[in-house]
């Protein structure tokens, strides 16, 4: 009788433990998902939407309760200019306005601000095609303006080339551009560039993993399949190097990628993932060169070549070596896209 009473309690306890464990799995899953790609740094502010957001002084008729009197004038009309800054030209010292203000229609524009690598070139793509190239300063800061836009959904992509000519992966942002607004996207941190000195080595050999990022940040280098996270420091020009001892890894294929973390909230997305192989034999490393016409870019021409060979066994376009040009090859090409 006593045993019978204990059975349901035991089942409840057991199942509650299971539930807690599954909830923990859920949380871990989510943390991993966030780590795998979501950027926590980007802010999008729209000037012209009538809402004065955090970094705007005003927007349309939203003055955040500010008035001419708040600026120390006797009265007059405070207005908001096209850049969402206060225009005090119609404020008065008691008599006439201090200047003549006029309002014109805002041009539809998108502004990108962020960090790449010191003195690097940043290529900006609009719906997959190159729209402009800008340079970062010695602190790795860059700013770019895209004009001549019509209203609609756009996918913008940004990638940079470091001091050694290594390209970053594309950092993409998809959002709606509204007519007569200035959309400012700030806090864009391009992921570090990454390269390795060997793709096939023996267990215990040192693998040099290196690249460039913003100056003086800590770079987290992930070795997958070993699930190892190593830390290294970028120097004053953003160059980083990790001498990784492969003793801890099993024979077989491995992947490495890197990202930097400025603080608890600000971090980059992951860099390109690079493959290497420990031990004898093993499969070929995935052929990742989607630049089919060898012009140094992965663009519409390469897409045309892939399209032409779609469904065939063309060796050049069969990037994952499964003997057919199919969906994974298209996906790999889009990963290495430069526009």
């Amino acid at each position: 009788m006593n045993g019978n009473r204990k059975t349901p309690i035991f089942i409840i306890l057991l199942l509650l433990i299971l539930t807690v464990v599954s909830a923990a799995v859920f949380i871990t899953h989510n943390v991993q998902a966030q780590m795998s790609g979501v950027m926590a740094t980007v802010r999008i502010i729209v000037c012209g939407n009538g809402i004065a957001e955090a970094d705007e002084e005003c927007d349309g008729t939203d003055f955040k309760s500010q008035t001419c009197i708040g600026f120390g004038y006797g009265g007059g009309t405070l207005s908001c200019d096209n850049a969402c800054d206060f225009d005090i030209s119609s404020c008065t010292t008691g008599g006439a306005p201090i200047g003549g203000g006029s309002s014109t229609r805002i041009a539809t524009k998108v502004i990108f601000q962020g960090k790449a690598y010191p003195n690097s070139s940043i290529t900006i793509l609009k719906d997959g095609e190159v729209t402009t190239v800008v340079m970062a300063d010695s602190n790795a800061d860059f700013r770019a303006e895209i004009t001549d836009l019509t209203a609609g959904i756009y996918t913008f992509g940004l990638w940079a080339k470091d001091k050694d000519g290594i390209k970053s992966i594309i950092y993409t942002l998809t959002f709606r551009v509204r007519v007569s607004t200035i959309t400012t996207v700030s806090g864009i941190y391009l992921p570090p560039t990454i390269d390795i000195d060997k793709t096939r080595l023996q267990k215990g050999e040192i693998l040099n993993i290196f690249g460039q990022t913003i100056p003086n940040v800590e770079v987290d280098v992930y070795i997958f399949s070993g699930e190892i996270i190593e830390k290294t420091q970028a120097d004053e020009i953003g160059a980083w190097l990790l001498l990784f001892n492969t003793q801890a890894l099993e024979d077989g294929p491995h992947i490495t990628k890197a990202r930097f973390q400025l603080n608890d909230e600000e971090r980059s997305i992951f860099s390109e993932a690079l493959s290497f192989y420990i031990g004898e034999g093993g499969p070929d490393i995935v052929f990742s060169d989607a630049d089919f016409n060898d012009d140094g870019r992965v663009s519409l021409v390469d897409f045309s070549i892939l399209l032409y060979h779609w469904g065939t066994d063309n060796v050049r376009c069969d990037l994952n070596r499964n003997r057919v040009v199919d969906l994974p090859d298209f996906s790999i090409m889009l990963y290495y896209w430069t526009g």
Binding site: A33, G152, T174, I305, Y308, W310
Partner: protein
Amino acid sequence: MIKKYFSKNNLSKFVFLFVLIGVSISLGAKAAVLYLEPAEEEYHREDVFIVEVRLDSEEEYINTTKVNLTFSKEVLEVRDFSQGNSILTLWLEEPSFSNQAGTISFIGGIPGGYLGEDGSLGKIIFKAKKEGKGEIQFQEDSQVLLNDGFGTEAELKKQGAALNILAEKLEAPKDEWLGELKRDNTPPEPFEIKIHQDSAIFEGKHFIIFSTTDKQTGIDYYEVKESERDWKKAKSPYLLEDQTLKSIIKVKAVDKAGNEIIAEYVPLKKSFPYWIIILILAGVGIVWWIIQKLRYVKK
């Protein structure tokens, strides 16, 4: 009361359900979702309405989507497919549909991938042709691939739509698509024609590539014209008829509302080879000088 609900059997069922929900939440956390908007709605016979195919990437960058849909062909009829405002910029297989088979399919990609919860892949324009339940379902072979450089297939949930088609209304049927067409007076985005030659395709012959988007109703078709030849419907890449590259090439992009934009490629005219004249004059000068020299020697 508690005893009533927590009888041995019910208790097991309750706890099993509790755990099942917990486990299913945990397992399903990372799957991308292909879904339709609206998922449930009522329309009347003869209505023309829009069903949007959307992607929720669920915290992963997705760069490739393969969509195969089936629909109740007795109840619904596809009128058109719009790529307007789609997040897909490269179409490996353009949208196609068959009202006989009740199928819609397309393959598209986003360079660098898409991260978001309501990315529009395209709009299907349906006409309700008969009363009944109009179901639209994603087929099993629909796929989305991660932007990870390896072409990894992402876990995927598929959520179709169940539409209720009622009897025809007394008033005029609604036409959501016509409204969009009337509002669209903006031509497609400006674009460029690029000429290429590659041994890998068209047996090394010259071809052109072109691509643009239309942010309203979407691109309907392209046409190509080489000098005095007629306009021809075309797709990129397009093999040029005039391989001498002397023709002016025009490509016209037309959106679903009929707005158009034309890109033009004018071949560079070779400048007159003035160096040949200089060479000839120099040659004549040298010959004349030699003749003069010979005359002088003879004298």
